[in-house]
């Protein structure tokens, strides 16, 4: 099965019942598959006029209780940025899939990159935290899409599935489970103000059409949802809550795989370069090479660095100019070696073996 189809199938298994999007290479197969499958399941597929409207459509659908998603690539992702901020501020659960291609601008439509890793963290204006998942196989395209929906509903945030063209277009064996985990959105309790948070800092959800009178705005708002944009204290409280509802769960929701924790040379990867490193470790059977594979890049799991107490160097191959390596570097005193790659090719195992001092 193709990675993009696995993503769509994962969404359907997770109960996604609304897709609003605009086709763009290399993500189009996600939309195509949803267009075929959703109507048969009483879901809604809408091709919107552009990515600004696509993002708006899934926000609206989500407020009616739908599990809503869109899929895009770099140029479309840029257009979505304003409404992504709106989803953050209004605490609207939704899933945004970005099958990354070479940028800036229209760049390389058919080639892989991971140049949007910082954009998904900081791309919309204002301060917020973000959740971003990075699959490195067709199997994970399925599993992490399911997970994205559950995290979106739990934290009431847009969740990003940041794949790349290689994983999106690659076809390989996949095992589809009979059942997937389903974490439902917590409804707003009767008598509680619509933006009054519970202990986990997440308010219950007042679904449209269920009798709640609720005002939804991108302006700074109080617990009633009413605009209150000139009160400095209230703004700080709101933004800190939006930030901390994810940051406080950083350790708990972290998702990474540790290989050879006692190694001195440790690779750190996410997305398709993980596959190159897995090949290096397989071929260097006698030598201890460590690997920290991040399935969730944001919030950044800085505590995972301590899983490698003997690390003398971290080698970080990325399909960009070192976006996550720089984040990694500020959490450790151990030397970090960036292995940036642009153009669409994947790091060859041979070039990584050289860096790790492993016989080719």
């Amino acid at each position: 099965m193709q990675g993009n189809i696995a993503c769509a199938e994962g969404a359907l298994a997770a109960g996604c019942n609304f897709f609003g999007g605009y086709p763009i290479t290399p993500s189009t197969e996600v939309a195509e598959h949803m267009a075929i499958k959703l109507p048969k399941k009483n879901g809604t597929f809408i091709q919107m006029e552009d990515e600004i409207a696509s993002m708006a459509s899934i926000i609206g659908a989500s407020w009616t209780g739908a599990r809503a998603m869109t899929a895009t690539s770099g140029p479309g992702f840029s257009l979505m940025m304003e409404n992504i901020g709106y989803a953050v501020m209004t605490e609207t659960p939704c899933v945004v899939v970005n099958i990354q291609r070479g940028g800036p601008s229209t760049g390389q439509p058919t080639m892989a990159a991971a140049g949007d890793m910082m954009q998904c963290r900081f791309g919309s204006h204002g301060d917020y935290s973000a959740i971003a998942l990075c699959p490195s196989s067709v199997q994970e395209m399925y599993e992490l899409t399911v997970k994205a929906f559950n995290l979106a509903d739990r934290f009431r945030v847009p969740v990003f599935l940041m794949a790349d063209e290689i994983i999106g277009h690659m076809r390989e064996r996949i095992i589809i489970p009979d059942k997937v985990e389903h974490i439902p959105r917590r409804p707003l309790a009767p008598g509680v103000l619509p933006f009054h948070p519970e202990d986990d800092l997440v308010p219950g959800f007042p679904e449209f059409g269920k009798g709640f009178g609720v005002h939804v705005t991108g302006l700074t708002h109080d617990e009633r949802g009413y605009p209150c944009a000139t009160n400095p204290k209230l703004h700080e409280q709101l933004v800190m809550r939006l930030y901390n509802k994810i940051e406080h769960a950083r350790k708990e929701i972290a998702d990474y795989v540790v290989t050879n924790p006692d190694a001195e040379t440790v690779f750190v990867t996410y997305g398709s370069p993980a596959r190159s490193v897995e090949q290096v470790i397989h071929d260097a059977a006698g030598e201890k090479i460590g690997h920290l594979r991040l399935k969730m890049v944001w919030p950044f799991p800085e505590h995972a660095i301590a899983e490698f107490p003997n690390a003398a160097r971290f080698i970080i191959p990325e399909l960009n100019l070192g976006q996550v390596a720089r984040e990694f570097d500020r959490h450790t005193r151990v030397p970090v070696i960036q292995v940036p790659k642009l153009g669409g090719d994947l790091h060859l195992p041979a070039e990584l073996k050289k860096l790790a001092g492993v016989a080719a």
């Binding site: 290479t25 439509p109 058919t110 690659m170 076809r171 390989e172 064996r173 596959r275 090949q279």
Partner: protein
Amino acid sequence: MRHEVRFSGFGGQGIILSAVIIGRAAVMYDGKYAVQTQVYGPEARGGASMSAVIIDDEPILFPKVTVPDIYVIMSQEGFEKYGASAQEGAVMIIDSTLVHSRPACTCIEVPATKEAREKLGRDIVANIVMLGALVAATHVVSETAIERAILDSVPKGTEKLNQSAMTRGFELIKERGQSA
């Protein structure tokens, strides 16, 4: 046994579909592992297109083909871009209707486009003739597996045509007694 197969031709010939079918045959019907990847441009048709499949008994880690041992080449530009660098030990199956150059490695000439046009009445199944020839020459997947994978993958109503194309591919190799 690991095989790395590279397909090349021009956009519209079914180069990517050929790799998908071989991968499907290996995974679904021969119980092996396979990973299929591709390189293509923004053009819808024309332009050199390349796709690749790795087939292995073990799970596949690095997903890209690096040193193919089998080539299927269906255009001159495809040969120049993706076939000319073939290593000595490789086997190359060439559509001799469309490719004029010949590689340094073992080369099996299959007039797939000519056969498809003259014997089957449709150019479009030339890639399936090539798939039949590929399987008969290299046994990279079994003949039953490729047949089932082809039938899974082609549009409804074209099963017979594609089956004949595959069989013609088998025959072209067997008539020559050429097997690598």
